[in-house]
Symmetry: C2
Subunit: 520 residues, 2 copies
């Protein structure tokens, strides 16, 4: 593991200074031990303290904005405008998570007050529980979002918000951007006056460091965004540990699009233009790129397909993130064009393919993601629509275009799709994943490992577990569970959601006499 490597400029192929070195086993060990040592103290910091930390990371990122954008541009070939937007998104994501942990109700505090013994039923003790951190989290940055899904991105933000130290394995395609973002986090740690261990970054040109990290006993959970192959390798390694840990892997999908008859007739051309923009946005390098478009046989579908075909053929070539991604796209596109029953519909620009529903139903692997500016049109009869939907594996999103009348007539289609995706988009396009409270970016396997979301504030819930305190005196309880509700959070008190304090009349005795245990 003493290998060195350089980032490459995907636009020119040029090697970029400085040289990076794959982290050594000693460095991995050091990072994991420091994280384990820091975990108890960091995990007990208040929501207000964690919020201040997250906001400070945002400020430190913005302080380095120009350097981050310039370096990321060299390492990824993405435009400055896109990277400026991504920096803003990354900072605002941290601020949104800060709001949530500062407000505090996210911990799902539950208080069940003591119930006195009566007629054969023993006393029920006072029980209070809340979500608490799991411990050090390993985060793997994504190639396609060098800021928002990388070192200081969504997985790091949600693990830190939840109270867990983070060890990032930098993506080898953008080590320089990663180092700058890591410096921003380290500066925030220093600004808060905290010691080391809350955050660390490791580098590697290959997969050994990442695997060693996932196998390290101090690591308690994993966040990953990337390929199915990469994600599954980490899932398998985590499941094979002496003590298995959860891996939250977002592994992409084909994001099927369904177009219902009236919408097709009313605005087929408009949908084709929107689809083209969505498919080719950022050279098709989004997890939510629509890679599968169901188009009914017949004239309106032909017209819509023709419009899409013209737009795809006229698309200027855009550089891809890495030479490896570009090569995989070329190879995957060539292979798809050779498949029986699949027709290549463009000779220039972006790659458009067409096939018949029968082919997709026979060969579900045709629905697999092909990362890059390409999509597959599937021509079908009205009767095949539901069958196509039912044949789908897990996807991040599904999209349906339809008038209200279309949608009412196809209620079953919507139900079938909602059971197979994390997000159902109506009359829109799946690219564009807003960071909000309600967002779900994740779906049944293989879209993600578990169906949990890696975007939005619900992502914090991946990195916590419930802990219950039985008959604890006030002073031994976290503020979230104290009678007075000093943080004023929403809690489930005897099952009812309220911000009220626990009423004194129900106040628990301080010490419970040691008696025979109850046996419910």
């Amino acid at each position: 593991m003493a290998t060195t490597f350089h980032a490459l400029n995907p636009a020119t192929g040029a090697s970029l200074e400085p040289e990076f070195r794959s982290s050594s086993l000693a460095e991995i060990e050091h990072a994991c031990r420091a994280a384990a040592l820091a975990a108890p103290e960091y995990g007990q910091r208040s929501g207000a303290e964690r919020a201040r930390f997250l906001r400070e990371i945002a400020v430190q990122l913005e302080t380095r904005r120009e350097a981050l954008v310039a370096r990321a541009q060299l390492e990824t070939g993405l435009t400055a405008a896109r990277l400026q937007g991504e920096t803003t998104r990354t900072a605002n994501q941290l601020r949104l998570f800060a709001e949530v942990v500062e407000e505090g109700s996210w911990v799902d505090a539950r208080l069940d007050r003591r119930i006195a013994a009566q007629e054969g039923v023993p006393e029920r003790p006072d029980l209070r529980s809340m979500l608490r951190p799991m411990g050090p989290v390993a985060v793997f940055g994504a190639s396609n979002f060098p800021l928002a899904f990388s070192v200081a991105g969504g997985d790091t933000a949600s693990a830190l918000a939840g109270g867990n130290p983070v060890i990032v394995k930098a993506h080898p395609a953008h080590p320089g951007t990663s180092r700058l973002a890591a410096e921003a986090i380290e500066a925030a740690v220093a600004e808060c006056g905290w010691g080391a261990g809350v955050f660390a970054i490791l580098y590697d040109a290959g997969i050994e460091v990442g695997l060693a990290l996932v196998r390290h006993p101090a690591v308690r959970a994993v966040g990953f965004t990337g390929s199915l192959r990469g994600g599954r390798a980490l899932m398998d390694a985590a499941a094979a540990r002496p003590a298995p840990i959860p891996v939250f892997a977002e592994m992409g999908s084909s994001n099927p699009v369904f177009i219902l008859p009236r919408a097709m007739a009313d605005r087929g051309a408009e949908i084709a233009r929107g689809l083209h923009a969505s498919v080719t946005l950022g050279a098709g390098q989004f997890c939510t790129k629509p890679g599968l478009v169901m188009v009914a046989h017949g004239a309106p579908g032909d017209t819509m397909r023709g419009e899409l075909q013209r737009a795809m053929a006229a698309t200027p070539e855009a550089p891809m993130l890495t030479a490896g991604i570009a090569a995989a796209f070329r190879a995957g596109g060539a292979a798809r064009g050779e498949l029986r029953g699949v027709e290549r519909m463009t000779n220039t620009g972006a790659l458009l393919f067409e096939t018949a529903a029968e082919r997709l139903l026979e060969s579900p692997e045709l629905a697999e993601e092909l990362f890059g500016p390409t999509t597959l049109v599937v021509r079908h009869t009205p009767a095949q629509l539901l069958e196509l939907a039912r044949s789908l594996e897990g996807h991040l999103t599904a999209t349906v275009h339809g008038t209200d009348e279309d949608l009412r007539e196809n209620a079953e289609l919507l139900h079938v799709l909602a059971a197979r995706v994390g997000r159902l988009v109506l009359n829109g396009f799946p690219t564009g994943v807003a960071v909000t409270h309600a967002m779900v970016h994740g779906g049944p396997y293989p879209a993600s490992s578990s169906g949990e979301t890696s975007v939005g504030t619900r992502a914090i819930l991946r990195f916590v577990r419930p802990v219950c305190f039985q008959d604890a005196p006030e002073f031994a309880l976290p503020p979230e569970l104290q009678d007075a509700n000093p943080l004023g959070i929403a809690r489930r008190l005897d099952g009812r959601i309220t911000r009220d304090p626990v009423r004194k009349v129900f106040r628990r005795r301080r010490t419970k006499p040691a008696g025979p245990p109850v046996s419910r």
Copy 2:
């Protein structure tokens, strides 16, 4: 898999009629297909409908109360009083879950309203998400709770409450009790007028049926209560599937007990009596049996240990659940007595062992669960207390006895323990797991697979995943996400928890013009 088997009466060794037959591959296939077919309809039933179903199961169980208790007594050797209590617990558990799904706020509904485009920032769509069912759940009944953690027990109740069909693999030690409970559920399905597929039961004398069930593509999650070996085998099988699924396995633990100096001095004898009752309750066959007791060197500890020793030696022998469990207990107890540095302290009654802290710190396997009426006293110096706590793996519970002054002086001990368990018990005993909203029965591996709870209403959250609707018209939204909030549930509206409807002034347009996608 055409083997037949009988339940055995553990008190007499006699074979009990009738004969049971291991389910065939065709029966497994049939159950899984029916569950997959039933899943969409059952998953869309309202909370009120599911509540009615759960309450009907409770009624049907109570209708069969005498038969259930009589058969369970024969199959498990547990007392009629215990089984009467367990029947009540099982019925009340279903009713509590019914309350939660009827009230409805548990779905964590989140609504983020549309934000119009402004100065370079594109429009943010309307996003609404909630927790939805995962699909068919396989449930494995436990040997030690033939009712409350078996066919109609906590895993089944939480999976059904969450909207998932359930396929139970009956525990081979109590097939007759299992069949009676299954009949109660089937009667409730019929009473609700539903078709087959919502529930099924399979039998097996061995492990093949269970493994085939976990490997079946229709099964989307697993609930299990049992041994570490059994749970880990299912975890490994689930992780190796082409599409891995989560296994929520509760695998027991040693539930360490810590006794602080003032509590030991004040009421050491009382604690010893409580401990003895907790260790020997139900012949020590509880997941939360305290199997590890930290007792300081010195006179108060000697006195307390002496009291415990007398009580343990005087414990009448109680029948164990199965001949296999009894044999494993005898073998495990004999092996423990042979270990270097471990002293056997009783020659009659229940098994008490003692060792020194140094031995446990050298050989953490001494902390492993020994299922049955036995515990291990660990003598330590004051300085070793924290070291012992830090050496612990995951446990379901930890218990601390201490005066307020003791607890204030040992705040660090409480923090260390809370990071290693699901429930921290103060001045009580860990046996007795109340079914409430705040209960946590689960801890870091190996206590459970994931740290999630298998007892209490939070258990429902294991069997759901979030689904988001983007720009969906009102009629295409589940009631939980509709503007008017027809169910009156607590929701997170633009981040703020409220039961208010969405104000009309913010009402979304019905169809969104197809435009260029946003790229945040």
